[in-house]
Amino acid sequence: MSVVIAASSGLIKWGLMGKIFVLSAGISIGLVVLFTLAVNSLSAWRRVGAAALSRALSATVVVVTSVAIAGTLVWGLYFIVHK
């Protein structure tokens, strides 16, 4: 009952919570997937006899992922310092 009252009285900021959820989900899932692709690419890179195209693709994924992760870390640190 108290939850219903709280939910309907404007005490809970649904819009704000929605924003937090969408942003968190987007960044977290995106980072994990990119990192996983990078790990996969490294795995492929290590295989003997991998084709040149596959190696080039792997290298691209590793570079893009590294930049994305470094960017997130910098954002995190910048935010921690300046909030």
Partner: protein
């Protein structure tokens, strides 16, 4: 002189809370790192401890107080702050003994609310603020983290099905170290500032500092070192529950859960709605268990933790209120000494009890249940040998 004495006691108890905050929350940033073997236990807590201290120095924009918008600021007096802190310490130490990851911030808020209820009654508590700033985020944060970590783990697991295990484990463990470091810095910044806020408030209330004075350097150093030391001593009991109790973590799960925790905490702070690190970290670890093929989560352990979360506010409030009533009964100066000594005695008893089934860096990664089984085995042996000893004693 009288007020200075009260102030010194408040500062001392605040440092005590800061210390318990550190060792209680170590698990949030390092439990998955230790559980998956990404770092050795001692190395992980040393890194986390150092970064917690660094975090404490990074930002000095201290919030008015931890209880701002929750209790009436004009009714706050030093004995209320003192009683609130003792309530939070008692709850933190009790939950540490039981290996339950509960929120130190909620314990502090609960303690202050309870002490305020005993001091000024229900009108001095802003119930709307309590719902919007504490209860709603407390409910939403573990759910957010659980859902996101479940999706992240599922996708990561599916994508790495054909990868070789050596590269996969190495990659994920490396990623875990980075996310664990970020979590530690964020924790030092957020949680050390709670104590800085409390000490600054006490200094202002006592007239030692002006209304808009900056936090003195000694307060920053004291709080940074306090939380860092607590983190280094490591709440191994809680690390064990987070790392082994909820689910058996693989490097893929560990990485997904730690990235989720870091991002959810930073995103929520970005929008001005700081969430409990403990609730987010626990939700992420549970989500990483749900994301596995077998959905392997020990829901009984999760249920026990959820019950403790529900009890945190009322239990810490009850301790805070009781502490304040003792202070008022005995007289505030002497009462603070009495409640301080009672709190120290309680912590000593719990510490003594914890030595019976000690959990440390050496056995923190034992198979879940294995440690308890070993204890039971030891007790059985003791029962078997005891009659012989008694017989010998009787003969003697």
């Amino acid at each position: 002189m009288h007020n200075s004495f009260l102030l010194v006691l408040v500062v001392l108890i605040a440092v005590g809370f800061d210390f318990t905050n550190g060792f209680h929350d170590t698990a949030n940033s390092v439990a998955p790192t230790i559980a998956t073997g990404a770092m050795k236990p001692r190395t992980a807590v040393l890194m986390s401890s150092t970064l917690n201290i660094v975090g404490a120095f990074l930002s000095l924009k201290v919030a008015a107080t931890i209880a701002s918008g929750i209790v009436s600021q004009s009714d706050i007096i030093l004995p209320v702050v003192f009683a609130g802190l003792t309530g939070a310490i008692i709850w933190n130490v009790a939950t540490w003994y039981l290996g339950i990851p509960s929120s130190s911030s909620h314990a502090l808020i609960g303690g202050v609310v309870g002490a305020m209820l005993a001091h000024a009654g229900g009108h001095a508590v802003e119930w709307g603020g309590l719902v919007s700033k504490v209860l709603a985020p407390a409910t939403a944060s573990p759910i957010f983290a659980l859902v996101i970590a479940t999706v992240a783990t599922t996708l990561s697991r599916r994508l790495t099905q054909k990868s070789d295990n050596t590269t996969k484990s190495w990659g994920m463990r490396t990623g875990q170290i980075g996310s664990s470091a970020l979590l530690s810095i964020a924790h030092g910044t957020n949680d050390a500032q709670k104590t800085m806020g409390i000490v600054t408030l006490a200094l202002v209330a006592n007239g030692t500092l002006g209304d808009n004075a900056a936090t003195p350097k000694w307060v920053v150093v004291m709080c940074g070192v306090g939380i860092g030391l607590g983190t280094y001593l490591g709440g191994w009991r809680i690390i064990r529950t987070m790392g082994q109790g909820f689910t058996k973590l693989s490097p893929t799960q560990g990485f997904a859960s730690q990235v989720t925790s870091s991002v959810v905490i930073l995103s929520s702070s970005h929008f001005g709605m700081p969430l409990s690190t403990t609730h987010v970290a626990a939700g992420s670890i549970l989500g990483s268990g749900v994301g596995t093929k077998k959905r392997s989560v020990r829901w009984a352990v999760a249920g026990r933790v959820a019950i403790a979360w529900l009890l945190t506010l009322p239990a810490a409030a009850a301790c805070g209120a009781l502490s304040f009533l003792i202070e008022r009964l005995v007289g505030f100066s002497f009462g603070q000494v009495v409640t301080g000594l009672l709190t120290i005695a309680f912590c000593a008893v719990i510490f003594k009890l914890s030595r019976r089934d000690r959990i440390s860096a050496e056995n923190v990664n034992d198979e879940w249940g294995g440690h308890t089984e070993a204890l039971e085995h030891a007790k059985t042996n003791e029962t078997v040998t005891r009659p012989t000893a008694t017989t010998t004693e009787v003969k003697a």
